[in-house]
């Protein structure tokens, strides 16, 4: 909202239509919520084992498919489908960690990273093989409808509102887990110094598993919401949002939870603004340009502190 107010002054003076501007901000925040949820998973995993989990975009895709089947085959509503997708993704995330990453914990970072890319491709094409490559239409489970905002010619739909609310709830829940529970404390300890945490009696393997589970559950939730929002899902849908969320995580400062959330929102709004006031074809280019600029001028990200490798 801070951004919106900032732009308000600028655009109002120039006489650019306020309605359109507000609409673009809403479009951007909806997209940003999705990026934020995915970016949180990237950042948590990086924070704890210094791995960019490139399979994370695919977990989001599988979350969308689990939601799809929960709704179409089991006839469930939005909230139960969301919860099932989150549980399914949490299990998948833990399984990936146990099978693909844990045996490599003592290897070089690049080896684990290449493995992550391998897992990503494996999940994409396994889904193509078993669930067919063509896009599927996500059933309409939220009623169509929209609110008018501040009496302007700008609208927020029920779907967008659902995305905002669910995202905020999940982020609040995550902050609660990380800062006010014993598990959260253990997670922070492992992120701070894994060996010292082990010496203090923390079961680091369990904590890493839990981190993967929580991060993957958030991606699963994002997948179901994207299905509802765009009405179509396909096995390769995770690639671009996965990369964008990675940029968002780096933008906010990788390893920092509030950074990932803010980074996601900023990315969403920037994309909407580029499409809305520039040229939609430059949207992806701008996203990656941001990554390059951040890496050159502030590699620790917006929220990053100068003391490196700490969370």
């Amino acid at each position: 909202m801070k951004n919106a107010l900032l732009f308000y002054g600028v655009y109002n003076r120039k006489g650019v239509s306020m309605d359109i501007f507000i609409q673009q901000v809403i479009n951007g925040l909806s997209l940003g919520s999705i990026y934020a949820l995915i970016a949180l998973g990237y950042t948590m995993v990086y924070g704890i084992i210094k791995l960019i989990n490139f399979a994370h975009g695919e977990i989001y895709m599988i979350g969308a498919y689990i939601g799809f089947f929960a709704i179409t085959s089991m006839g469930l509503g939005f909230i139960p489908a969301l919860i099932i997708a989150m549980i399914g993704c949490a299990i998948l995330g833990m399984a990936i960690e146990k099978i693909a990453y844990k045996p490599l914990r003592k290897s070089t970072r690049i080896a684990v990273l290449i493995t992550a890319i391998g897992v990503s491709l494996f999940l994409q094409y396994t889904t193509v093989f078993f669930l067919r490559p063509e896009p599927r239409i996500f059933p309409k489970i939220l009623t169509d409808g929209r609110f008018n905002i501040f009496g302007l010619k700008a609208y927020i739909t029920y779907q967008q509102l659902t995305i905002f609310i669910v995202t905020i709830l999940l982020v609040v829940l995550l902050q609660y887990i990380v800062h006010f529970t014993k598990t959260g404390k253990a997670m922070r300890a492992v992120a701070f110094d894994k060996d010292a945490a082990t010496l203090m009696g923390i079961n680091t393997n369990n904590i890493i598993s839990i981190t993967f589970a929580i991060g993957s559950a958030l991606a699963g939730a994002a997948g179901v919401m994207v299905g509802v929002y765009y009405s179509a899902i396909n096995p390769l849908m995770g690639i671009m949002p996965g990369l964008k969320a990675f940029v968002a995580a780096v933008l906010g400062g990788i390893g920092i939870i509030p950074g990932a959330f803010t980074g996601g929102m900023i990315m969403g709004v920037i994309e909407a603004m580029v499409s809305g006031y520039g040229n939609s074809l430059y949207r992806d280019a701008v996203a990656f340009l941001i990554l390059i600029i951040i890496l050159i001028f502030k590699p620790t990200g917006l929220f990053g502190k100068s003391e490196r490798e700490k969370v």
Binding site: I52, S231, A232
Partner: protein, 396 residues
């Protein structure tokens, strides 16, 4: 600093991973064939990938046509053997499939692919192996005529009308029937089909005294069109022309209506299929129209028979794609019957001289540029989201 280097390295890897290139090729294998009993007919279609639903519809119709022809004693006594491969809706793969059909299966003629882009990819094969390629639905001008030289491509044919005609029909309908004076165009930047239609709509609409207020583009991976649509709707166009395929159009219509756009949406035959009513409520589809090759509601006995047979065989109403596939198969069979052999050149000449052939999508006479001269229909949607016939537009 270690961190910075690491992430910079990552970005490099990312770029490398994103770049995936496809390539294909084959060796020429000249084969004089003189088979009176049966002739193989290659079928190169999009059975999976982005436009799989189109390829499937054409494949069904082609299969049905060949079964009917063979059951009735073949094309002038020659049995037709279809050889079907999937090109995965991919240009490189379409080239691979065409090469395989021409060099390994030694077919004299290939039906397909469905999209203009995939058909353009098959042009080198048609010339190298002297195999006729008959696209049922590739509407881009460049499929049969070389843009640079203006010469007709000797082995490329189509059985549908061409893009400029659809763009003109859509512009005429928008300007005269809808009385639109301003239009925006939303183009699929990956598609030759879409870009060809953009150009012809623009010049025709301006010819009717209308004004194009904005032209925007999207790419095929896009799922979120809201930002661009918000800007487009801000210009208050009477009509938004979307020459694209149903996969994206379904989402564009739903998002445009969600953003409060109530004006007319006009499109082309890419809209035909189940997706629009699947994604959109019938209210969203009011005031949305598209040009098409045929309508299953026609009372022409030939169409009625085709629609009934197709429903019996596949349990769904044939789309225009299916109808065009069916006609393409019959045009090829008609040519093989007249050629009386499996010889590549004889079949090519026979296809080129197709005249007055009566199919389910109209009467096909190929002109010197290998394009048929046919009429187009405009379809809309009724209050249950089903396609309804609006009007017919004749060439010129």
């Amino acid at each position: 600093m270690k961190n910075k280097k690491f992430i910079a390295g990552l970005v490099t890897i990312l770029f490398a991973v994103t770049m995936i290139a496809g390539c294909g090729g084959g060796t020429p294998d000249p084969t004089p064939s003189e088979t009176p009993d049966s002739v193989k007919v290659g079928v190169n279609l999009e059975l999976s990938g982005n436009v799989a639903q189109f390829g499937q519809a054409v494949a069904n119709a082609v299969e049905m046509a060949f079964e009917e022809i063979n059951a009735a004693g073949g094309a002038n006594g020659i049995m037709l053997e279809p050889v079907l491969y999937d090109n995965r809706s991919d240009n490189a793969e379409s080239l691979n499939v065409a090469t395989r059909l021409a060099s390994q299966d030694n077919v004299p003629v290939i039906i397909g692919p469905v999209t203009s882009s995939n058909t353009l990819a098959a042009i080198p094969v048609s010339e190298q192996f002297e195999v006729s390629v008959v696209t049922p639905t590739g509407t881009a001008t460049a499929v049969t005529v070389d843009d640079r030289t203006g010469e007709t491509r000797p082995f490329m044919f189509r059985t549908c009308f061409i893009d400029p005609f659809q763009g003109e029909v859509a512009a005429q309908f928008a300007a005269q029937n809808l009385e639109a004076t301003t239009a925006s165009i939303y183009v699929d930047n990956n598609s030759d089909y879409s870009k060809g239609l953009e150009a012809s709509f623009q010049s025709a609409f301006e010819g009717f005294g209308g004004e194009i207020v904005s032209v925007e583009g999207f790419v095929i991976e896009d799922r979120d069109f809201r930002s661009t649509l918000t800007r487009m709707i801000g210009n208050n166009p009477d009509v938004i022309f979307i020459p694209a395929y149903e996969e994206q159009v379904a989402l564009i219509i739903s998002q445009a209506r969600e953003l409060g756009y109530e004006g007319a949406l006009v499109g082309t035959d890419g809209w035909d299929g189940p997706r629009l009513p699947e994604v959109n409520s019938p209210e969203n589809l009011q005031n949305a129209y598209f040009t098409n090759h045929y309508t299953s509601e026609s009372d022409d006995p030939k169409v009625v028979e085709f629609v009934n047979n197709y429903r019996d065989a596949y349990g769904s109403t044939p789309t225009a794609l299916a109808a065009l596939g069916y006609d393409a198969a019959y045009v090829v069979a008609d040519a093989i019957a007249r050629a009386g052999s499996g010889d590549k050149i004889a079949i090519r000449d026979a296809i080129a001289s197709t005249s007055g052939f009566v199919g389910v999508t109209g009467t096909v006479t190929l002109d010197e540029q290998h394009n048929p001269v046919k009429s187009a229909v405009i379809l809309g949607f009724d209050d249950e989201g089903r396609q309804t016939y609006v009007t017919t537009v004749d060439p010129n």
